[in-house]
């Protein structure tokens, strides 16, 4: 039953990657903005949770709840004051600005927290596991996966069932016409980035409790997130989850053959999907 175990662990790992990717997918889907600082923002949120846990003695899950509004405000301000100015027909300015932001965040975190590896302690949950027949499933990986599904259901509900979601989609369709319908695109974009930062906080909770992190690991998370978004098809949330799972399964399968192959196998799976389906698994009808 080794292979079954490998696949299940891979799927659960895919949940973590989908969490990394969901915020990226949201922002890209609405405003065609590629946020190169996304991974660093996840690390920033992980440090925020760490500070709340160590300074106030909060449970990490409570700390994440406290961090969410702060991260929403940060995302809103970042988009409203900085990133909105970079949006336009030219795709280069947002790339340059978010790349710069990535460097700023990394160095600010290094300055404040040093280069030491950190971890958020989740107590007994860290080692807890559940037995499903022949397979042992860690409670934290399972919680991660369930959170990813909850996030994606939640984002889909917001997108397709609320007035805010319609404004997201209308603004993404045609920014100028949206303005004529009484929508303020700059504010809609800011809310979208704020929402992405709430998802980032959830991703950070699991990043921080399940593995060591330090200020420089953001870009590596960004790559997994990117691959998940692209495999899934740009702008589709369920596609992003599927993309995360494909990378997760490929990585655990690679690692079960040889531990050195873990990362490589994920990237190879990404390339294979792109060869077969250049627009991803669930591309939107028109782009």
């Amino acid at each position: 039953m080794m292979w079954l175990d490998t696949i299940v662990q891979g799927i659960l790992l895919g949940g973590l990657y989908a969490l990394f990717a969901a915020g990226l997918s949201l922002v890209f889907g609405i405003m065609r903005l590629v946020n190169l600082a996304h991974g660093d923002l996840i690390v920033l949120a992980a440090f925020l949770i760490l500070v709340l846990v160590t300074a106030l003695g909060l449970n990490p899950f409570v700390a994440a709840l406290v961090a969410m509004p702060a991260m929403f405000a940060l995302g809103f301000a970042l988009q409203y004051l900085v990133l909105n100015r970079t949006l336009g027909p030219d795709i280069l300015p947002p790339l340059l600005v978010t790349f710069g932001l990535s460097i700023v965040i990394q160095n600010a975190l290094l300055e404040r927290f040093s280069a030491d590896s950190r971890r958020v302690s989740a107590g007994a949950l860290e080692t807890a596991s559940l037995q499903f027949g022949p397979i042992n499933i860690g409670t934290m990986p399972l919680l991660t996966f369930l959170s990813a599904i909850a996030v994606i259901i939640g984002l889909n509900l917001v997108f397709y069932r609320t007035s805010l979601g319609r404004a997201f989609r209308a603004t993404s369709d045609d920014r100028v016409t949206a303005g004529l319908m009484g929508i303020r695109p700059d504010r809609i974009f800011a809310i979208a980035t704020g929402l992405a930062m709430v998802v980032v906080t959830i991703a950070a909770l699991y990043l921080g409790t399940r593995a060591n992190f330090d200020p420089t690991i953001g870009p590596a998370r960004l790559i997994y997130a990117f691959e998940a978004v692209i495999i899934g098809g740009l702008g589709s949330f369920w596609g992003t989850l599927a993309g995360g799972i494909i990378i997760g399964v490929a990585q655990t399968a690679g690692a079960s053959i040889n531990p050195e192959w873990q990362i490589l196998a994920g990237h190879i799976a990404f390339l294979l999907v792109l060869l077969a389906r250049p627009r991803g698994l669930f591309p939107r009808a028109v782009d």
């Binding site: 319609r166 404004a167 045609d174 016409t177 303005g179 004529l180 009484g182 929508i183 028109v286």
Partner: protein, 239 residues
């Protein structure tokens, strides 16, 4: 008091003057037609009224307030509704969602308050059977109707129609004119840019002629059509 007034509005793109000291006033409840050759600055005039293009000089007064410096969103909320010459629906949203967006954001109302109104507007514009289809799949006539429906959903005080009858068959055009006449009878103020003159003249009470960004005549349709300047500049090119 007029609902909308332009006072010496000018706009140039480099050496090209698209609005040259344009002044006119639209009375509340009035329907005004705008005609002029292609490139006369008719659509630009709408963009200056909605705020998509800022004026170089002059002022725009809407409902007693100076809106010259206000962004499009604020003017939409104040009551300026507009349709585009080339329909620009939100293609990935359904027809009904297109209206909901316009009604909830354009009139700042709750979804529960507006869904009945939106359904009524869809019925009036003949789109009810298409309500749950993505707007991207509509035909030209349906797209033009959606433009009108969406503008109506923002509960405008002034409706700006940009060549809404262009490209339609005579029967389609006739239906659309009846819809517009019904909207006008309910008290809406309308400015209508149109090349289809018989459609236009069956609705509007006054015509404004624009050429090279200048107002060269404004008055009753029969007077305008009879004037020498219009015959030379406008009809001369058309015939």
């Amino acid at each position: 008091m007029p609902i909308l007034a332009l006072d010496n509005v000018s706009k140039s793109f480099g050496a090209l003057t698209v609005a040259d000291k344009v002044s006119f006033a639209l009375e509340s409840g009035e329907a005004l037609g705008i005609i002029g050759p292609n490139g006369a600055g008719k659509s630009t005039l709408f963009n200056l009224i909605t705020g998509n293009i800022r004026v170089d000089a002059g002022s725009v007064t809407f409902d007693g307030a100076d809106v010259t410096r206000q962004p499009p969103m604020a003017r939409c909320l104040a009551g300026v509704g507009r349709t585009f010459q080339i329909p620009q629906p939100f293609e990935k949203l359904t027809v009904f969602e297109n209206l909901l967006v316009a009604a909830t954001f354009g009139a700042r109302k709750r979804e529960s308050e507006v869904s009945d109104d939106c359904a009524l507007i869809l019925a009036e514009t003949g789109l009810l059977s298409r309500a749950n289809q993505p707007a991207g799949g509509l035909s030209l006539l349906q797209r033009k109707r959606l433009e009108l429906a969406r503008a109506l959903a923002t509960q405008p005080k002034v409706l700006l129609l940009d060549e809404i009858a262009g490209g339609l068959t005579e029967a389609e055009c006739h239906q659309l004119v009846e819809t517009i006449q019904a909207i006008h009878r309910r008290g809406a103020s309308i400015i209508w840019i149109e090349h289809v003159l018989n459609a236009l003249n069956s609705v509007v009470g006054r015509l404004l002629v624009l050429n090279f960004g200048k107002v060269i005549g404004i008055g009753r349709p029969d007077e305008i059509m009879a004037s020498q300047a219009v015959r030379e500049i406008y009809l001369g090119i058309e015939v």
